[in-house]
């Protein structure tokens, strides 16, 4: 226990870095994912093709490979950022297609009668989407989106393998210094992750129940 208490500030630093990765790349992925989802259901063919290709491509590349590209290949091409920015770019790129898929499945999950009714009273594409489909879809989209964010929380640990000092990298560093407290340190890191993921999960469940009543 003692090494954990002694090194608490280092843990907190790592935790804050994990939170930073989560919040910034989560926000970035939400924005890009929404744009991709909108392209995917748009009437314009070129946008649909691009969005589909983007989704399929980034979903099927391992996150490790994406972060490797950001951390080692991009600097080689004289793109100069620090490792945190590279990790943020990689995590955003990897997470955005999952956001897009969650949103798209929410839009598809709205009963077709709703869209038909909206069309029948003469609303156009934008009106149908904006005032009938999306308000309903957003409710259905939030729980899966939270699941995406929980997965993102866990995925930030991969950035620890690419020179970003977040929780996972912190644990490795501390274990090097305190070899006799390996188990305690790893369990402490696990608890820090659970501090983020468990409340998010509970929130998703609570929300799901609320939405289920509304429908």
């Amino acid at each position: 226990m003692q090494p954990i208490i002694d090194n608490l500030p280092i843990f907190i630093d790592g935790f804050l870095m994990t939170l930073r990765l989560l919040v910034i790349s989560g926000a970035g992925a939400l924005v890009i994912g929404t744009v991709i989802a909108a392209m995917r259901i748009s009437p314009v063919g070129a946008f649909r093709v691009f969005a589909t290709a983007y989704t399929e491509l980034f979903r099927n590349i391992p996150l490790t490979l994406i972060l490797f590209f950001c951390a080692f290949v991009l600097p080689n091409l004289q793109v100069r950022f620090d490792y945190v920015t590279f990790a943020l770019i990689g995590l955003t790129a990897y997470t955005s297609p999952f956001v897009a898929e969650a949103i798209r499945s929410g839009v598809n999950g709205v009963p077709i009668g709703q869209a038909e009714a909206a069309r029948a009273i003469g609303l156009n594409f934008g009106q149908t989407l904006g005032s009938v489909i999306l308000p309903q879809a957003i409710r259905m989209v939030v729980p899966p989106l939270i699941n995406v964010l929980i997965a993102l929380t866990k995925n930030t640990s991969v950035a620890g393998g690419f020179a970003v000092i977040e929780l996972f990298a912190t644990s490795r560093r501390l274990i090097n210094d305190n070899g006799n407290a390996t188990v305690a340190i790893l369990i402490a890191v696990a608890v820090f992750y659970l501090v983020i993921t468990v409340p998010l999960g509970q929130f998703a469940v609570a929300l799901e129940k609320k939405v289920a009543v509304l429908r």
């Binding site: 070129a46 490979l65 149908t128 929980i150 640990s157 991969v158 468990v198 999960g201």
Partner: protein, 306 residues
């Protein structure tokens, strides 16, 4: 055809075509700009001119047999880890789902805690834990980390599969005089397994993708062999070539497996009209299982039965 917008008339079709072409040109132009900027020939710090990425002198390696032998070794190492981890994950998943649906709370509650705990952990942390605490070496650390994490996810999927079966299945089993355990094994479990097959395969694709995490704990798999050792073997001017080869291999394997998963999903949905809608609901609730499946503390399956 979607009902979100009218079936376009000639004018709208023309407009849509124009937007499509312009949009396509803008997208392609953006991509081309990105590629040419990144791939441009440049002079490095020592004053030596490097050829651009698309220069043929960087790509002659693709015709080299030694490269493909090396990549083959990497694929073999990756598959060796994925296959063992997948088998173990399936076994752990089945065991956990059986324990999780036990009648005695003494068994059920600990199983639930185990599932939720491991679903909420980064795979990388599980690998590191195994590596350092049990000093197993990188291969087994990777296998155990992947097996435990994905076992917990598969266990949860199987549990919601069992929960989504019509109640009559279990009741008729018991009415026939089978013991509760026999009912579970011979009647409920096979149906739940078949219903959850798409999710399980999707999770196995995730597992295969996640073998690349073992690179970080030092296992010699495709990424490590291709991108860390490759440039030293073949020369660092082939760094990008190697990167794209590794990328292409991962994409080919994962897209094939994903296509198989979709095919299986369609077949199971087509064969069992009854179960398909429930499966769809459970799949939706599990978040599509694509992005590393589940969430800590989310016992949502209980509410999805409604």
């Amino acid at each position: 055809m979607t009902v979100l917008y009218d079936v376009p008339g000639p004018k709208a079709r023309r407009r849509s075509l124009v937007i499509s072409v312009i949009g396509g040109i803008v997208i392609l132009g953006g991509l081309a700009l990105l590629v040419t900027t990144l791939a441009a020939p440049r002079v490095n710090a020592g004053g030596v001119a490097l050829p651009g990425i698309l220069d043929p002198s960087r790509w002659d390696l693709v015709l080299d047999r030694a490269l493909w032998r090396t990549i083959g070794r990497g694929i073999a190492a990756t598959l060796r880890m994925a296959a063992v981890a997948a088998a173990l994950a399936l076994a752990i998943g089945m065991l956990l789902s059986i324990l999780r649906t036990a009648r005695s709370a003494l068994v059920r509650v600990p199983a639930m805690i185990i599932i939720e705990f491991f679903r909420g952990m980064p795979v990388l942390l599980l690998m590191l834990f195994t590596l350092l605490v049990f000093s197993t070496g990188a291969y087994w650390a990777g296998v155990v980390g992947l097996a435990v994490y994905n076992g917990a996810v598969i266990g949860e999927a199987l549990r919601s599969g069992i929960a989504s079966l019509p109640r009559g299945q279990r009741e008729s089993g018991l009415a026939l005089g089978l013991t509760p355990l026999q009912t579970r094994f011979t009647i409920e479990f096979p149906q739940a397994f078949r219903q959850m097959l798409p999710i399980i395969i999707a999770q196995l694709v995730v597992l295969l993708k996640d073998t690349s995490l073992a690179y970080i704990i030092g296992y010699q798999e495709l990424l490590n062999i291709g991108l860390k050792q490759g440039p030293t073997t073949f020369g660092s001017k082939y760094f990008f070539t190697l990167f794209f080869v590794v990328l292409a291999v991962y994409l080919a394997v994962n897209l094939t497996l994903s296509a198989i998963a979709r095919l299986v999903a369609r077949r199971t949905a087509g064969g069992r009209k009854h179960g398909s809608r429930r499966t769809a609901a459970v799949i939706a609730q599990l978040g599509g299982a694509g992005m590393d499946g589940g969430s800590a503390g989310s016992t949502g399956g209980d509410s999805s039965a409604s």
